[in-house]
Amino acid sequence: MTTAIDRRRFLTRLAKLGLITLGTAGIPGLTPGRARGQAPPRPTLAVTEGTDPAALVRETLGKLGGIGKFVRSGDRVVVKPNIGWDRTPEEAANTNPVVVAEICRLARAAGAESVRVFDRTCNDARRCYERSGIRAAVEALDDRSIRIEHVREEQFEVVDIRGAKSLDRWPLYRPALDANVLINVPIVKHHGLSEVTIAMKNLMGIMGGNRGRIHQGIDENLVDLNSAVRSHLTVVDATRILLRNGPQGGGTQGVKIANRLAATTDVVAADAWGAREFGVDPMKIGYIRKAHEQGLGIADLGQAVVL
């Protein structure tokens, strides 16, 4: 027998349910994976050179023992490229779409349950996804478990970052925090403020809110962000490097075809390598030096095992 429920009772129940939901909400916290000051392990860095970006991805990850070393069967993987700008691949403002798609394909082949690709863009997200070529490249894989999606405002969640020196509370993107494996796939670019932008700064794409606010004291803020949210694997796209008018460029005059790619689990080493490819001393870049000094990773590539 079914119990009749009248409108009044239904509404009362609904209200109670709402109150319970509200009551359980609180501000979650993130604790850095490793305490600052503790010596980080020597990083291993795989570097390759060639004109076929997909082959570069396979070769580079192969040197590290294959993507299967990072992605296990059933993992939820997030691939975070730079899709920040309404620019074409030739303009080198966004990650090479071929590189992004190949990483997604390999992650799935290694048994990932799902692969999600997104970025909180600077220009209109639809235009960025479209003109970067990344939407088309990922959708061409034709795999329902590999999804390129736009970030949804309501999935940003204010998070306490424990032990942070500056960025102690910020809305971060829940699906990125929930991933078993976060693969950071930046491109090497010029930047007016920080001189060069690569992996640590690419992680700003999981930040909500008024991100311009972290530009004041950007070095410390980037270290805080990357301490709290670890890139399990960083693949640095230097197939093209944007040398001028960064980080969004425009036209191809400032673009250098470098045909190189590197991968490492150390986001600081990734940035150090990218800075060197760009043509600057990583220890002269504020946030890279700070990350090195605070033990987030190793920027001195002399200490790294380069494969």
Partner: protein, 509 residues
């Protein structure tokens, strides 16, 4: 229950088509739009009239052929557009029927004065001719489209996303994701919000509420397009007169939504050809018949009424001359890229809001009085709310009148709508000797229109600091406003786009 009249089917299909065009008018991955919603204005003789008032003989172009044909067919068949096609009319039929059922409103009260719409038509036409272009504010298609854009769709979107968020947080994120995919085509991208959303909603709600007083109140008593079509409809040789079979039961008059059937033959200036009189007549006594056009049908505007309305409109056109606020336009009023020079822009814009609908960054917002009395509901670019996307050129494609011109690829990127300047009193590098550079980062031109130099400056404690100090390179700035939009300071930005266009005097006169 009787099956719905064929008219209901036609209305339903056309309204659905209007919604479909509306939803389709957005960035979908292509720089060129195929079926933009402004196509409906090709049918709109009132928009054509506004364009004639604005541009004279130049308005007689092929693009308006359909509007001319609609007038012609109205002169033969009567106001069938209002009864069968007008999406606002359909929306009012739907909303009105619902409201009347819920509030059990007794309808058999007095009919509203029909002459009001004629007064509005002639008054607004006169004002428009004399330089106060307000016809578009009262155009029913404009009114509906801008209402959809500015508050209906944003509110629907907010409700849907609120619900989906709730489902997701209650422990069913997978289900919510699935719903998101299903609802995708009818949701907005992002969370649109607009200036004047409240006022626009109030106007629409007012028109809807009038349905409680009489069905199709707006259409019979206020709509200037209805009045225009009514003037043409009077020429129609078709008359809905009572035949000898009529038993004087008044059922037709009771069913008539506009009061046209109160008279015999029905008043063809008010009759919207809904056919309810024929369908309701138990004896088949009221059907359209051929008759000689009667120009002095009941309810026709008198010459005196027309002249008085026009005189009223002329007086209205004088109001901006005596409003001190109109002596100078606001320095921060920016127009969309490709907009015609201000005077021409205002007179050609019919306030439909299509540009606001299509703008991917939500940069275009209706003005109230910032651009003068004659600029109500015209679009202005408000950088703090949304900036002009560098490579986007959609607004010029959806403007039904050419108030915003079409821009080619490459031409858009060079179109200057204003120039940015720093407010050094607030800007962080100036005020605190603190690095920021968010504006420089986002500047889309190549080379960037925001340059900087390392300078030693004193911070507020008097300590000397090396800081990157930005400046605007005016010869490169196009006024897109992304700098003002992204400026991280709370409230007002420390870099602001002004209406001044360097190297051009057109922004000053």
């Amino acid at each position: 229950m009787k099956p719905p009249a064929p008219r209901r089917w036609v209305q339903g299909v056309l309204l659905a088509g209007f919604f479909a065009l509306f939803l389709h008018t957005a960035y979908k991955g292509f720089d060129l739009l195929d079926w933009p919603v402004h196509l409906v204005f090709r049918l709109d003789p009132l928009a054509f009239l506004a364009e004639v008032a604005a541009t004279g003989a130049a308005a007689f172009a092929g693009a308006w052929l359909a509007a001319g044909l609609l007038l012609l067919f109205t002169a033969i068949l009567g106001r069938f557009f209002c009864g069968w096609a007008c999406p606002l009319g359909t929306a009012l039929d739907l909303g009105g029927a619902g409201l009347r059922r819920i509030f059990r409103s007794a309808l058999r009260g007095r009919r509203p004065p029909r002459s009001l719409s004629v007064a509005l038509l002639f008054g607004l036409a006169a004002a428009t001719l004399l330089g106060l272009p307000l016809l578009g504010v009262f155009d029913p298609l404009s009114l509906l489209l801008r209402s959809l854009t500015v508050f209906v769709h944003p509110m629907f979107d907010a409700a849907a996303k609120g619900l989906l968020g709730g489902i997701s947080r209650s422990g069913f994120p997978g289900f919510a994701d699935g719903l998101y995919d299903v609802l995708g085509p009818v949701l907005a991208f992002g969370s649109p919000s607009f200036d004047l959303a409240g006022l626009t909603a109030l106007v629409f709600a007012g028109i809807l509420a009038l349905e409680l007083s009489a069905p199709r109140f707006w259409c019979t008593s206020l709509c200037p397009l209805g009045a225009l079509l009514g003037l043409a409809g009077r020429l129609s040789p078709l008359r809905r007169a009572k035949s000898a079979r009529c038993g004087e039961c008044t059922r037709c008059a009771a069913r008539c939504p506009t009061g046209a059937a109160d008279s015999d033959p029905a008043d063809s200036a008010a009759c919207i050809q809904c056919d309810e009189c024929r369908r309701s007549c138990p004896r088949g006594a009221r059907r359209p018949e051929l008759a000689a056009p009667g120009l002095s049908a009941p309810g026709s505007p008198t010459r005196r009424a027309v002249l008085t309305s026009a005189a009223g409109g002329a007086l209205l056109a004088l109001v901006p001359r005596v409003r001190a606020e109109e002596r100078e336009r606001g320095w921060d009023v920016l127009r969309p890229p490709g907009a015609r020079p201000e005077d021409e822009f205002r007179s050609r814009c019919i306030r439909c809001g299509a540009c606001m609908r299509v703008c991917p960054r939500g940069a275009l917002h209706p003005a109230l009085l910032e651009t003068g009395l004659g600029g109500m509901w015209t679009p202005r670019l408000v950088p703090r709310l949304g900036y002009c996307e560098y490579h986007c050129r959609l607004c010029g494609q959806v403007c039904p009148t050419g108030a915003i011109g079409y821009l080619e690829e490459g031409q858009k990127e060079k179109t200057v709508i204003g120039v940015a300047f720093f407010e050094a009193g607030r800007c962080l590098p100036y005020r605190k000797a603190q690095n920021c550079m968010v504006c420089e980062e986002h500047c889309p031109t190549s080379p960037k229109a925001i340059a900087f130099r390392d300078e030693l400056r004193l911070d507020p404690e008097g300590k000397e600091r090396l800081v990157k100090v930005p400046r605007v390179v005016e010869s490169l700035c196009i006024g897109c406003g992304i700098c003002e939009n992204k400026c991280p300071l709370p409230g007002k930005g420390a870099i602001i786009v002004g209406r001044e266009i360097p190297g051009s005097l057109s922004s000053f006169y």
